[in-house]
Symmetry: C2
Subunit: 382 residues, 2 copies
């Protein structure tokens, strides 16, 4: 191992305890030697995405979190509701690393030519455990960043950009021509506004607060519907009629929003298929749920005929359906757009130690769109 790689380094781990708490702790873990096709990457930056919170705190009550550990190796414990503990039974006692994606610099490489070619390079990385100072990864889990893109700019290179690209890919493969997106003021939502403009895909943005309308309008979004307004359903129907959207991606999950979107799509379709149809129009309307900002039940009113579908949607299984060629195309495009289409903005940067401060947890664990943290596991790096 090169002299600049320490034998062990800091890593964050999350453990479900059988007594009904979740503990997130900083530990010292050995840095592995790379196998022929592996790289050791010094992680410079890693975002906190909603999917990361799912592993870190798994629905624990962070408002009741308590600090523990030492100043050098702090920890935090938070109580889990009994039903959350049941759901997490298979995790009890396992100290799980967290942090899906990040970016850093390759500081050691295995013997294969593919690995050696990346030594010293800045790479985006995927594969979990990025809330670590060093990670040992397969070459295929590392994407060289374009010159001029720093690890800080490349930290969120994969999850949101490839999700946005996967949504547009799904739209094309399933034969839709316009898209509805909810929780549209999120980091992902802002990327989607820029991507859909480039791709000439009309986009209807649904947000939950008036100030989010302003955020998206500044980005140049054409259709922004605020679900907190009394005229929401009419405006949504008008926007859907104007764009011809028959596909939606929903991040909220619970409540009646999915049902409202299907009803608006059906009302828009009925404008071009007048007359009585006992089973509704023949226009197929599809909503994919990819998040669960509202964990309550999804309530479907079924007032939109019979030509409709809803379902879960995840980026990884979608990539599997698309196949390796499309996957390579999407991740290459994601990396190429990191300072433009797929640029991310952060409300705060924290070290691994600062990430365990109760006041920071209270801020980044809140399920609100528009506030996003960046973790810098090696403070002082670029």
């Amino acid at each position: 191992m090169p002299p600049n790689v320490p034998p062990e380094a800091l890593q964050l781990r999350s453990t479900v305890k059988s007594e009904g708490t979740i503990e997130v702790a900083l530990v010292r873990a050995p840095v592995p030697h790379p196998q022929p096709n592996e790289l050791v990457v010094r992680i410079e930056a890693s975002p906190i995405n909603p999917s990361d919170l799912g592993i870190l705190f798994s629905g624990a009550d962070v408002a009741r979190a308590r600090a523990g550990g030492t100043a050098e190796l702090p920890s935090v414990s938070a109580p889990l509701a009994p039903e959350a503990l049941r759901r997490l039974a298979a995790r009890v006692g396992q100290a799980m690393p967290a942090g899906n994606e990040g970016a850093g610099v390759v500081v050691a490489a295995g013997s294969s030519p593919q690995a050696q070619a990346l030594l010293g390079k800045a790479v985006g990385v995927i594969g979990g455990g990025m809330y670590s100072q060093y990670r040992c990864l397969e070459v295929s889990e590392c994407q060289p960043l374009p010159s001029g893109t720093s690890p800080r700019q490349g930290a969120a290179w994969f999850i949101n950009p490839v999700t946005a690209l996967g949504m547009v890919e799904t739209l094309r493969r399933e034969g839709h021509r316009a898209l509805v997106h909810t929780a549209a003021a999120s980091n992902l939502g802002q990327m989607l506004v820029r991507l859909c403009r480039e791709e000439k895909v009309p986009l209807v943005n649904v947000v939950r607060r008036p100030e989010q309308v302003a955020v998206l309008s500044e980005l140049g979004a054409t259709h922004v519907c605020d679900s907190s307004q009394p005229t929401f359903r009419e405006k949504l129907t008008d926007a859907i009629a104007e764009t011809g959207a028959t596909l939606a991606f929903d991040a909220t999950g619970g409540g009646t929003l999915v049902s409202d979107i299907l009803a608006a799509m059906e009302a828009a379709a009925a404008r071009s298929q007048p007359g009585f149809r006992r089973y509704g129009t023949s226009v197929h309307k599809q909503v994919y749920l990819y998040g669960s900002l509202d964990p309550g039940p999804t309530v479907l009113q079924r007032t939109y005929g019979m030509a409709w579908g809803i379902g879960g949607w995840l980026m990884w299984p979608a990539l599997e359906r698309f196949g390796p060629e499309t996957t390579t195309r999407l991740r290459t495009r994601a990396a190429a757009g990191l300072t433009t289409t797929f640029a991310s903005h952060y409300s705060k940067e924290v070290s691994l130690t600062e990430m365990l401060r109760l006041e920071e947890i209270a801020a980044y664990a809140r399920p609100a769109t528009g506030s996003k943290y960046l973790v810098r596991p090696n403070p002082g790096s670029s």
Copy 2:
């Protein structure tokens, strides 16, 4: 027109009135002359299916129905709730015939050889308006009944048999190997028990009352789960695990049953994919809603990972997706099985006039499985 075809005959029609009632009335209507490729069929028998009630009464409050008209041409009026009236706005003032399917004897035929070949034959018919004494139909809407099958036996030749066949066809095309069916004691459900046995498709039957378990067990059903029992969810999970069912057809629509089925499928899948999976198993679980016995909202708990889909399913659009060759294969098979696999049983036979008696309406308009009426528009016929 041959002398045995009257110039006009009785027909039932349903009209939505702008003042908020629905009127079902017997009228005299002219019997059309057949065009070259048309047939005039004397309708001998037509079932009252749930889809027919949707046109006849459209959710009106039949408990508050009132009789009108004359002894010879009776009518019935029932009030519509304001939201039902809104939904039916496009129907106001139109006197719609009803009765999707039936069977009868060809009494007049157009000049084409295809039409002439069917003169005097017993045929199953489809195309609406079968609560009539005579119907003029395209040759393609008529299916010769096998010799030995009477019009009475052939009355329900299409809707339920082709729906059952379409469900099994969907299962094969979408790559599932076993099926869950709800409201399984229905006429359709009993056909499905026999069809799935012939097709070697394992079937999990979900019923709502203990006496329905007995009905299906007598038919030889292997898996029957009663949702009124406290052990329902465990039994459903066991049956799904045993059969490997990942597809369900649901006729109830409202409530949590759809969600319960998806949760049972996920629990069954987790038995063969142990360990913690944040987004659930990778087994895709699909539920199609083809009915709405419970008109309340569908409540999805989303406790079954992300690999799931639900959607509306109708036989007609399914046949369109299957294409004309498959459609011909399915309807030929339906007709061939009318005295065996697809035999229907009726709790009562009524004339068109008797169909408008308030006590009969109260019986056949009740959304309960297992009680089915047969209409005989030409009393005294075979």
